[in-house]
């Protein structure tokens, strides 16, 4: 029973971390129909940025969360025009060219990180590292809980922004019907750039938490690319609220398979569920995706 509860808590906490990545990624697809293969690389860059800031400026990496958000917001905003060019070319299948472009971007970022920072494994320590809270019989690592809370809060804030702000309305309009939104005076190009920027900003921030929890190295991104894809397919492509249950499902799947079946089958189980979803409910578990 104790192990069961601990497994449940572990799973939910893993899920909470993945929400942040999933939300931005899903919105990116919903608004621009861009599948960003580089999603894991933004996580990696966020983690490295936190590492270097702590190395040179000291203090706690959590303090740099807003800085990193705005840094990657700016980077995303500057990169978006390139993606726009890739998807708006005269080729037969522009969306797929976008896919290839981000694929190249991922290789570029990963190779750059490997070349610049080498193969060392790095770590950052926060004031919460190694601390934990007791929740009944289960132990809740404080840092993971912070990650979880951050994930949920960021998602809620983001949802509210989409719901109430003027840009949020434009974003939602674009996700529903791009042409119509354009006709009604939405500057779709600018809104797309903003969405992409917010996505890279959020993902970079998630990278700080992930880097603090695990370890930081150039190859860490791949895993989160897998998770982002998984979550988005389960949620239904482009359906942002579906990300939350999908991320929790992914977390629980991982922890329960590891504990009660075998850790060797964890990733296999993830891919199996992904395949089943595509087979049975291609529009996501809630059937609300594209």
């Amino acid at each position: 029973m104790e192990l069961f509860l601990q497994t449940l808590v572990d799973g939910l906490l893993i899920g909470g971390l993945i929400i942040v990545i999933g939300v931005g990624f899903s919105l990116c697809f919903g608004v621009m129909h861009i599948i960003d293969f580089a999603v894991g690389e933004w996580v990696m860059l966020g983690a490295y940025t936190a590492f270097w800031m702590v190395r040179y400026l000291g203090r706690d990496p959590f303090l740099y969360l807003p800085v990193i958000f705005f840094l990657y917001l700016a980077i995303g905003y500057l990169i978006y025009p390139l993606i726009h060019r890739a998807v708006s070319g005269r080729r037969h299948n522009p969306a797929l060219m976008g896919l290839v472009f981000t694929f190249g971007l991922a290789s570029l970022i990963k190779g750059g990180a490997l070349t610049a920072w080498g193969f060392h494994v790095r770590s950052v320590t926060t004031w919460l590292s190694g601390e934990s809270l007791a929740l009944g019989v289960a132990v809740v690592p404080a840092l993971r809980f912070a990650g979880f809370a951050f994930g949920v809060l960021a998602t809620v804030a983001f949802m509210l922004f989409l719901k109430w702000s003027k840009i949020g309305v434009a974003i939602r309009a674009m996700a529903q019907d791009r042409v119509m939104a354009e006709l009604l005076g939405v500057d779709t190009n600018r809104v797309s750039a903003l969405v992409y920027a917010m996505y890279t900003g959020l993902t970079g921030m998630a990278g700080v938490l992930i880097g603090a929890l695990f370890s930081i190295h150039a190859g860490m991104g791949l895993k989160y690319t897998t998770f982002a894809f998984f979550v988005v397919v389960l949620a239904g492509m482009g359906y942002v609220p579906g990300v939350i249950p999908a991320a929790f499902l992914l977390g629980l799947l991982q922890s329960f398979v590891t504990v009660y079946v075998s850790g060797r089958y964890t990733l296999l189980a993830v891919f199996f569920v992904l395949y089943l979803t595509l087979l049975v409910r291609p529009r996501g578990l809630l059937g609300r995706g594209w």
């Binding site: 104790e2 192990l3 601990q6 497994t7 572990d10 799973g11 906490l13 893993i14 490997l114 080498g118 193969f119 060392h120 494994v121 790095r122 770590s123 320590t125 590292s129 190694g130 601390e131 934990s132 132990v139 690592p141 404080a142 840092l143 993971r144 929890l213 695990f214 370890s215 190295h217 190859g219 860490m220 791949l222 895993k223 991982q254 922890s255 329960f256 590891t258 504990v259 075998s262 850790g263 060797r264 964890t266 990733l267």
Partner: protein, 427 residues
């Protein structure tokens, strides 16, 4: 409508294509490579990972090989029958992939006509290179690869200076079983699904069974998964020993997870990964009390005569040259060069080596029994660990006061093992 090249194909082009195919089909290997041109230095091929995922490890072996070659050349070369012959290292990057390791071997042997080869960092690339050195009958020593798979294959021309991980990883378990009291009763083992780590995890299990420690959980998890659930499951068994079979990255994450989950076994056991600087930097003071294994440290009391007299002298010269402390892989790579050097001296072969001399070199390597700064080098000539170094004793290590200290097994201890590990909140 797009028009492709072939739709405009005419007879002239057709004939050209057919000719091209026929000439491509008739490409074949030149029958003999011929004798190497005369030279008065040894050409040594080095295949290792200078790029790709294993570049970090590849550069570790490179430092070891460079240390050997540069020290030999400073002395004027290898002394053979009264005359000194310098050595020249020729590097070929294996890009961390087996296919490139094979091409690299092919290039060094047929293009560069090297006399012998110092091998790659990883086992996978070594397993692709070994058939090539076998085909061309070129002696090959690896200073790093240690997977038992290589030795099971019984390659005649391939040797290795590091004993297989399945032997080494037993050292800390043996120490805990024999040198501490009360003796630990139970062990939970968590391994990563790669060959090196899995052999280590299996070695932990074998050793535990041999020394009467009950294995309460044995789990192999894939690299890169979230280790918290697996650590939670180990914690639920409340074992005395928590053993981690992995490279340093997973070990760091698992020990972090153990701390967060307030998992307090009486001993944390790792093996090679814990000797790396990244492990210590990554965990900080949480690395304290962790047990590990190695086959070489700079504190050992070996007395040698070839190139370096003691491990300490090697470590000092190494640090002066590269600015970092040498670990066992660098030492073993240097020792691989020393093994060649001694075997060459014994058979009095001078460069370039012809085939008879290469075969004599292999025969000499099989008989070799020397004492180096790295310890005894003596290659096994039978059994499951054919041609791996059987001369060495694995050592159990522990972090004590931020330093790696030799704690066993038995008489190899330079300090007493600290056991049990205090709980996280009382460190």
């Amino acid at each position: 409508m797009r028009e492709d090249c072939l739709s405009r194909l005419n007879w002239g082009r057709g004939l050209f294509l057919i000719l091209l195919v026929v000439s491509l089909l008739s490409l074949t290997v030149s029958p003999t490579t011929g004798a190497a041109p005369a030279r008065d230095f040894f050409k040594v091929g080095v295949v290792t990972s200078l790029s790709g995922e294993l570049a970090f490890g590849g550069n570790v072996t490179k430092r070891g090989y460079d240390m050997w070659a540069d020290t030999v050349n400073q002395l004027g070369g290898i002394e053979i029958a009264g005359k000194r012959y310098r050595v020249q290292l020729i590097y070929a990057d294996d890009q961390s992939t087996p296919a490139t390791a094979a091409v690299a071997g092919e290039r060094l042997i047929t293009q560069e006509q090297v006399d012998f080869i110092l091998g790659p960092y990883a086992s996978g690339t070594t397993l692709a290179l070994a058939p090539i050195t076998e085909k061309y009958k070129v002696p090959h020593i690896t200073g790093s690869a240690e997977s038992p798979l290589i030795w099971q294959r019984k390659f005649k021309y391939t040797f290795g200076t590091i004993p297989p991980v399945s032997i080494n990883a037993q050292a800390p378990i043996q120490t805990l079983a024999q040198d501490v009291s009360p003796k630990p009763q139970t062990i939970a083992i968590l391994g990563i699904d790669d060959p090196f780590s899995k052999f280590a995890a299996e070695a932990f299990r074998t050793a535990a069974q041999k020394f009467g420690i009950k294995v309460v959980r044995y789990e192999i998890v894939p690299e890169g998964s979230d280790y918290t659930p697996a650590v939670s499951a180990a914690k639920a068994q409340n074992p005395d020993i928590f053993a981690i079979g992995s490279h340093e990255k997973a070990a760091i994450e698992m020990i972090k997870a153990a701390k967060e989950l307030k998992f307090n076994p009486k001993a944390f056991v790792q093996h090679y990964g814990m000797t790396t600087p990244d492990f210590r930097k990554g965990l900080g003071k949480d690395a304290e009390y962790v047990f590990g294994a190695s086959v070489w440290t700079a504190n050992l009391n070996y007395k040698a005569t070839i190139l370096f007299t003691t491990p300490k002298e090697y470590a000092e010269k190494f640090k002066a040259k590269f600015g970092t402390e040498p670990d066992y892989t660098e030492a073993a790579s240097t020792a691989a060069g020393i093994a060649f050097q001694e075997a060459l001296r014994q058979i009095k072969a001078t460069p370039p080596l012809d085939q008879a001399e290469k075969d004599a070199l292999v025969a000499a390597l099989e008989k070799l029994n020397i004492m180096t700064f790295y310890g005894p080098v003596k290659f096994a000539t039978s059994g499951d660990y054919y041609h791996s170094n059987a001369g060495l004793q694995p050592i159990a290590l522990q972090y004590q006061g931020g330093k790696l200290v030799e704690v066993g097994p038995g008489k190899l201890a330079l300090a007493k093992p600290r056991y049990p590990t205090p709980p996280w909140d009382r460190r």
